[in-house]
Symmetry: C2
Subunit: 202 residues, 2 copies
DNA sequence: ATATTACCTGATCGATCGTTCAGTAATGTC
DNA sequence: GACATTACTGAACGATCGATCAGGTAATAT
């Protein structure tokens, strides 16, 4: 993702996995079994390598986790920094942020999935939770602004509304699979529709 | 929860923890750190006992997990079996199920939290996932029925709507804490309001 | 007082954990 | 063909994992 995902620009050295490929497989395994339940031996087995070979690509199992969480957090924070999040009235900006969050979630599905399961068991995990909290605060501020503008219901607390709606968005990682029945644009549209207007017919 | 949670009906033998007390502490730890990241030594330390003392109360660490997951699943299935889930039009029944699910989730918070984090790493976990799927199917059938009755929007797939709305409900375990700013009745009301009518003002 | 029941300790087991290290293998560049 | 670069093996490490077992302690019922 950070390095070249191009064809094959004549890599030097013995052929094999590079760091990003190992990371991608690791994140898949972490999501299948959980980070703690996944051993380095599991990862080596899935790649067809020995355990020690992996330590050529990274310093520790935890470093893999840190790299993956950064990937997810960079994407989410990018949603709030994109121009659509700053232009228009609060309701329009809120819709853009919801839509952007869904798209990032789908495009970086394994990384965001991993992020959403972090519980704070280590310094790496706690740092990721801190960045998530900062993201939530910025979104809550946007919801509160939309409430003051009369565009979001004020009979429910803004922080609660934010948590519920982002709970809905985040839950997508539990079932969405690319290539399935729902494409990313359709999903983003549906989420914004249900979040803003509810499931009931008017 | 299954045994006597009454006052103290004169228990015989040396005083100490009983099985349900050990289970409650275990579930708390599983939720704090994750099931796999929690060792039997962690649990013993939290209780002020030795590891071997714990095996007087249960056969294996996994049995604790199974007991906890049953507690959560019994509660959720009870929501669909209560009378309110069968009387009235589909929209009313759907509202009752949503409300019931929120209340079970709050009342059995630690157990449901644990259930929602299960990934299928063992037979016990896979059996729990199977029961969850059956629950989801019953709810989806209710949503589909409400769509046919014209009471739920038909421009979004019923299964997607169900997943999104229950994603919202389930996400409550990530932040709700009893005794906090929001009480259980208020939360149930807010969830039903946002799920059915959305966050936007009309 | 004593038997019964329940609860707990300390030592230990084999398996698996993440990690290290010294050496080997295969490629592109010159 | 020498050389730098990249990728990997096999054996071992201390630590921790879930679990077992034989024995010890403290309350209640009779």
């Amino acid at each position: 993702m950070s390095a070249s995902t191009d064809a094959s620009p004549a890599r030097r050295g013995r052929p094999g996995y590079d760091r990003d490929q190992v990371l991608a497989v690791a994140v898949t395994l972490f999501n299948e079994q959980g980070y703690d339940a996944t051993s380095v031996a599991d990862l080596a087995s899935r790649l067809g390598l020995t355990k020690s070979a992996l330590y050529h690509h990274f310093d520790s199992k935890e470093q893999l986790l840190a790299l993956a969480l950064d990937e997810a957090l960079d994407g989410l924070e990018g949603v709030l920094d994109q121009p659509e999040a700053s232009i228009g009235d609060p309701a329009e900006r809120l819709g853009a942020v919801l839509r952007g969050a869904v798209l990032v979630l789908v495009d970086k599905l394994p990384y965001v999935t991993l992020l959403l399961r972090v519980r704070g068991n280590s310094d790496v995990e706690r740092a990721a939770l801190e960045r998530r909290r900062a993201f939530d605060h910025r979104v809550t501020a946007l919801v509160t602004e939309a409430q003051r503008a009369g565009q979001v219901r004020a009979d429910v607390d803004g922080a609660v509304t934010t948590r519920l709606v982002f709970g809905m968005v985040n839950s997508i990682v539990e079932w969405y699979r690319p290539g399935g029945a729902v494409d990313r644009e359709r999903l983003a549209h549906d989420v914004v529709a249900v979040a803003l207007d509810g499931m009931r017919t008017r």
